[in-house]
Amino acid sequence: MSAITVRNASGNERSATIRRTWTLAWVLAVTEWKLRFYGSFLGYLWSLARPFALFGVIYLVFSEFAKLGDDVPHYAVYILFAIVLFTFFGEIAGGSVQSLVARESLLRKVRFPRLVIPLSIVLGALFNVGMTLVAVLIFALLNGVYPMWTWIELPFLVGALLIFAAGLGMLLGSLFVRFRDIAPIWDVVQQALFYGSPILYVATMVPEEYRDVYLINPIAAVLTQMRHAMVDHNAPSIFDAVGEPWHLLITAVIVFGSFALGLWVFQREAPNIAENL
């Protein structure tokens, strides 16, 4: 085992590395953001079009045709919030899968902290979710949802999803370099998570005997709490929804465990990424 030694490295080398990591991640995220709407007239509006269009379809089918949400107050607002949050999760976790391979030329020709890549994806997803959530909040107000002090929970809910998604993203991205089957596998898993999380329905519709197991899924837990905090204060909070409160510990372990595992695997693979691409 050996390494490259750079002499005259001053004491603030570490902080310089951290600064460079942030700067680069920021520049990459902003560039991606600019390019996303490159050449389109409506630009940012398109980023709203997708969740709102999906919402429209789901609302029509589940609420109007299937009459699923008749006893769910502000069902439309809930669906919209859930879609936006799940999209945020998918953008980080799913978007990370091919992130390293897609930036092959950068990774092979420039030395930079490899963590820049997942970080830039997280930042980009945050830009998106931030701008979309503004529109969703306006929609909620128009829909008659009264602003609540619990709305300040939103950043924490987003944060919990972020930690979970970033962990999965780092894990998937570094594994994809070696095993290309990660991509189709993750497609299926993400699809399963979409239906396995309360997006088209609400968690209280899940029979009580399954609910504790159901809420082990961190996305389900976050969305359940979101319903309580953001949409309907009468809906059960996550602590009320779960039968045995300690079961929530499992959820927390999954969130932070996947982050720790993802970070560990990523950092372990990082020095070899360039040659394995």
Partner: protein, 410 residues
């Protein structure tokens, strides 16, 4: 050539120390093994091909030195550069760098065709290690050096390739580093811009920056490098003055070339004597099949006498690949009397000259004839030996003689 190692000694410690560095790639036979395969055969060890890209290379580079790494495709020179840049991890050995190391090995990395030059400069400069603030401060200098003031808000996809390269180079030289790594860069831009680039190299050199660059271009090596290293199959073959290394590189390159077989034709009755061997030697009397232009060269052949002969005529002709005779040498021109030879005797005829002809393939046709007015050929072997000659410059002329150039005002 003055000893460049003394430069390292005079300033204390070298800028870069590469100490017995090796790098091996493990290439699985099937590149992308699937999970299914692994799941079905969990204990089957996968078969790897080992590619020893860099093997035990050690070299020290002095501060302010312009160091060239040359080698053929796949010789491991770029791998070595990537190890230096910290992009690849070395397997064994160590690399010590004194000072700040530029983080990139190629110009224009991360250029995005859909963004304007202005945006690309900031992005690229940040990738290369500047802070966005520094990048904005130096923006005007970068654009001015590239000479692209009128095009800063043009999208990069509308740039010509030459303009994009100019932009990339201009950003590259703004990077704050003591040791720069460059992979193949000089073969771009128009003549005026190349001249500017050369001046920049001189400036960087005079500022004491160390530049390590990888190239195929031997004229660039001779022009810029203080020292160079030839890498072949992952190993360092030659380390020394650029001229020496360029020559070694050419030799290596042409050694692998299979000489085009020229059909040998034979004339004469072969009653009195026979030519048994024909070959070339260089100035140190080594048997060679390649030669560097300007070197001293011998064309030799062995004659076995079958009968006694008095003053036989011996000589040869040198032909180009197209069959043109560029030179002929004969005992007839020089001395006429060659002496008496007994049957059964074997002699070697050796004619030396300074090789001033242009690069290419040459063949030698030795001849033995009886003395007399009419050429009475005993044995002549056309194109019996071939020689490949390379040069570090190509003039396009048939010969390249020492020349004097003078410009006088009228």
């Amino acid at each position: 050539m003055p000893g460049k190692d003394s430069a390292a000694a005079s300033t204390g410690h070298p800028a870069v120390v590469i100490d017995s560095v090796s790098k091996t790639f493990r290439l699985p036979h099937q590149r992308y093994s699937t999970l299914k395969e692994r799941a079905l055969h969990p204990f089957r060890s996968r078969v790897f091909d080992e590619l020893k890209a860099v093997q035990d290379i050690s070299v020290q580079i002095a501060p302010g030195e312009f160091f060239g790494i040359v080698g053929r495709n796949g010789s491991g020179k770029s791998t070595l550069l990537k190890c230096l840049a910290g992009i690849y991890r070395v397997d064994t050995g160590s690399i010590t760098i004194d000072g700040r190391l530029s983080p990139f090995i190629e110009l224009g990395v991360g250029f995005n065709m859909d963004l304007t030059a202005r945006e690309n400069v900031i992005i690229n400069a940040t990738m290369l290690g500047l802070t966005p603030k520094q990048a904005r401060e130096r923006f005007d200098d970068i654009i001015a050096f590239a000479g692209l003031e009128e095009f800063i808000d043009l999208k990069l996809k509308n740039y010509s390739s030459g303009m994009a390269v100019r932009l990339a180079f201009s950003i590259g030289i703004e990077v704050d580093a003591d040791v720069l790594l460059v992979d193949e860069v000089l073969a771009v831009g128009d003549a005026a811009f190349q001249h500017k680039c050369y001046q920049q190299f001189e400036r960087l050199k005079s500022e004491g920056k160390t530049i390590i660059f990888v190239t195929h271009d031997m004229s660039a090596v001779e022009r810029f490098c203080d020292r160079a290293m030839l890498v072949e199959k992952g190993k360092m073959v030659t380390l020394g003055a650029p001229r020496e290394v360029a020559r070694a590189y050419n030799q290596l390159n042409f050694a692998g070339v299979v000489h085009e077989a020229v059909e040998e034709r034979r004339h004469g009755d072969r009653k009195s004597a026979e030519i048994t061997r024909t070959w070339f030697e260089n100035e140190s009397w080594q048997h060679v099949s390649t030669l560097s232009q300007g070197e001293f060269c011998f064309g030799l052949f062995e004659v076995k006498f079958l009968e006694d002969m008095q003053d036989p005529i011996v000589g040869w002709a040198l032909h180009t690949q197209s069959g043109q005779t560029v030179m002929a040498a004969s005992s007839q021109f020089e001395r006429g009397e060659t002496g008496a030879f007994k049957a059964g005797e074997t002699v070697v005829v050796k004619i030396g000259f300074s090789f001033r002809f242009s690069a290419g393939q040459y063949s030698l046709s030795p001849v033995v004839a009886r003395a007399g007015n009419a050429a009475d050929i005993v044995d002549e072997r056309e194109h019996a030996a071939t020689l490949l000659v390379f040069a570090t410059r190509s003039t396009g002329g048939l010969v390249d003689l020492d020349q004097v150039l003078e410009i006088k005002r009228a």
